[in-house]
């Protein structure tokens, strides 16, 4: 019958498991496996390396398409706007209003006064005073 100390010793000996070991084959197998994993992951890493550039290219294409589409819409919209303006200008300038408009445009800036003009009586008074 073993005493408590001997039992502890025996337990430690069992747990230490010093007789178990792995041979050199293990190391070689493991390194081969590492090589294999590396070669398997290579194409993946290449694609991973290219991924930002591909994404950037796709994004650039989308932006270009968006800009081109907008330009096209603007170009299609512009002639109608210009034509409408042209039409409007032509109409307004050809009518009798043309003269009025030109007269109005010809009014010197000094005339563009905002204060109240003198009344008829005031003019008479000024004449009387020989002003």
């Amino acid at each position: 019958m073993k005493n408590d100390r001997e039992i502890d010793k025996e337990i430690d000996k069992y747990l230490a498991n010093e007789s178990s070991s792995l041979g050199d084959d293990f190391t070689q197998d493991l390194l081969s496996r590492v090589d294999q994993l590396e070669s398997e992951s290579e194409p993946e890493s290449e694609s991973t390396w290219l991924l930002p550039f591909v994404s950037l290219g796709v994004a650039a294409c989308l932006v270009s398409l968006f800009i081109l589409a907008n330009l096209k819409i603007n170009n299609e919209a512009k002639p109608s706007f210009i034509a409408a303006n042209k039409e409007l200008t032509e109409i307004s300038l050809e009518g009798p209003e043309k003269v009025i408009l030109e007269d109005l445009m010809a009014i010197p800036e000094e005339w563009d006064v905002t204060h109240t003009l003198f009344s008829e009586e005031t003019y008479d008074l000024l004449v009387l005073l020989d002003y």
Partner: protein
Amino acid sequence: MKEENSSDKIELSTEHKLMLEVAKGDHFAMEEIVNMWKDSLFRFFDRSLKNSADAEDLTQRVFIRVYQSASRYQPRAKFSTYLFTVARHLLIDEIKKMNRQQVSLYDDDWLDGQGDTQKDNLNEWYEILNYGLKGMPEHYSTSLLLRVQRELSYVEIADIMKVSESRVKTWIHRARRHLKETLENNRN
């Protein structure tokens, strides 16, 4: 128990340097790390799992994990702490997998049909201890194995297992008591 001394520090520094080389893809550095640690890991797994084949497989998986994460490795703690933290994570995954597949961690053939005469030999002692060790919770057996096999301090074990030092002491005490009780209950 083995205390940390200057030679350990030199060894540790060597392992950190080797890991930096592994991160650069140096297979010789990897080979050196494998040769330095393969037996320690294998002994740990061999006592934690059902058979040696599983233990060998898990040892290999630890090194592959170490190799794959070498570029992210930060030498903050002792290399052994890092290595056995990885080992424990894989062990827990493996035990969970076995539990899902309802695979027992121990071979219980010896419990029935074995003659009493065999119980006298050392092999029988080890069978009983095997039964006791694999029948206890993983954190009990891991803390006890790290203490006995690696001769780690309670602080280092607590670091690996991410618990307090006092909890580690309790686990180790209970694990030992469980093994003794298993021996007493199964011996004539």
